[in-house]
């Protein structure tokens, strides 16, 4: 196969995704348990994460996810493929989680989480930069980052580094945590995250930026310690 570029590549990817969706939908409609468990393995952790944004605790989130799967199965005959299967499933999930969250009075409509996007927090602590008036380099680095390029891969990928990333992510505000997990752990596209969480592209990027910046800081502290 020749590598495709730009629009052609996107077109090919969209077609492959549509073929894959047809296989999954046919499997579910036919009661194929292997297809169902495949989808559980692929989406269940992300579904619990997304549900957690709207409801009190993990048990309630798992309950919402279970309800969602049932709704998906009951509605699968009516699925028309106007959106991807994933988008459809996560839209059902988000609606149910919101309803449950509202009943719990912990309703936090995600789109209203503007205050929690962390916009305005600097990606790098202020003191790492020179002042705007500094004659050497206004707003340039005072304490520049040091390259990790010479670090052996075993050091970079050491258990300690990965644990440190895990903890940094656990400490993030809910919305940032969900976005970085979907993007950088589960490998979702920006559009998929935007659709599943019903947020704007700009919001998605702000949340991702805050999250990644904090994880980088944590890695830096870990890798440069001792």
């Amino acid at each position: 196969m020749y590598p495709l570029e730009g629009a052609a590549a996107e077109e090919a990817a969209a077609q492959a995704a549509a073929v894959e969706d047809r296989r999954l939908v046919a499997g579910l409609r036919g009661g194929d348990e292997a297809v169902y468990t495949e989808l559980l393995a692929r989406w269940q952790p992300a579904m619990v994460r997304v549900a957690r944004m709207y409801v009190r605790d993990r048990a309630v989130a798992e309950d919402v996810v279970q309800e969602t799967w049932l709704a998906v199965l009951q509605g699968i005959d009516r699925f028309e493929g106007r959106s991807s299967l994933k988008t459809w499933v996560f839209r059902i999930l988000t609606n149910r989680a919101k309803t449950r969250g509202a009943r719990e009075a912990r309703s936090v409509p995600f789109s209203a989480l503007g205050g929690e996007t962390g916009a305005g927090e600097p990606a790098v602590p202020e003191e790492r930069f020179l002042s705007a008036e500094d004659p050497r380099a206004p707003n340039g680095w005072a304490t520049p980052p040091r390259s990790w390029a010479q670090m052996p891969e075993e050091r970079l990928e050491a258990r300690e580094t990965i644990d440190c990333i895990r903890m940094a992510i656990a400490d993030l505000p809910e919305a940032q945590r969900v976005v970085i997990a979907l993007r950088d752990i589960d490998g979702w596209s920006a559009a998929e995250v935007r659709d599943a969480l019903e947020i704007t592209d700009a919001n998605q990027r702000v949340l991702l930026h805050r999250a990644r910046s904090k994880v980088r800081l944590a890695c830096e502290a870990q890798l440069e310690a001792a």
Binding site: T37, A41, A123, W141, E157, I180, R205, H209
Partner: protein
């Protein structure tokens, strides 16, 4: 050419938009121009790329059987109901 050069402090806030290809063309040109001449920001960009790669090493959680069992039961119940 771009009129006002980007500072390092500004650049670090644009990294995600840069990776996501969301910068308007003039802004992207300023970003590229800055990176071309700034060793520190080049390192910063490289660190962000490494951070993203390492975050990807956190595998999605494995499913605990106790959370899967009720889901499988629901599936089998639904399938029986379809006859």
């Amino acid at each position: 050419m771009s009129t006002v050069a980007l500072s390092c402090r500004e650049l670090v806030e644009l990294v995600t938009d840069y990776f996501e290809d969301a910068l308007p063309a003039p802004e992207r040109a300023r970003f590229d121009a800055h990176i071309a001449g700034c060793e520190h920001c080049t390192v910063y960009l490289e660190q962000m790329r490494t951070t993203i790669r390492l975050t990807g090493r956190l595998r999605a959680e494995e499913l605990a059987p106790e959370s899967v069992d009720p889901l499988l039961e629901a599936f089998r119940g639904w399938r029986r109901g379809r006859g």
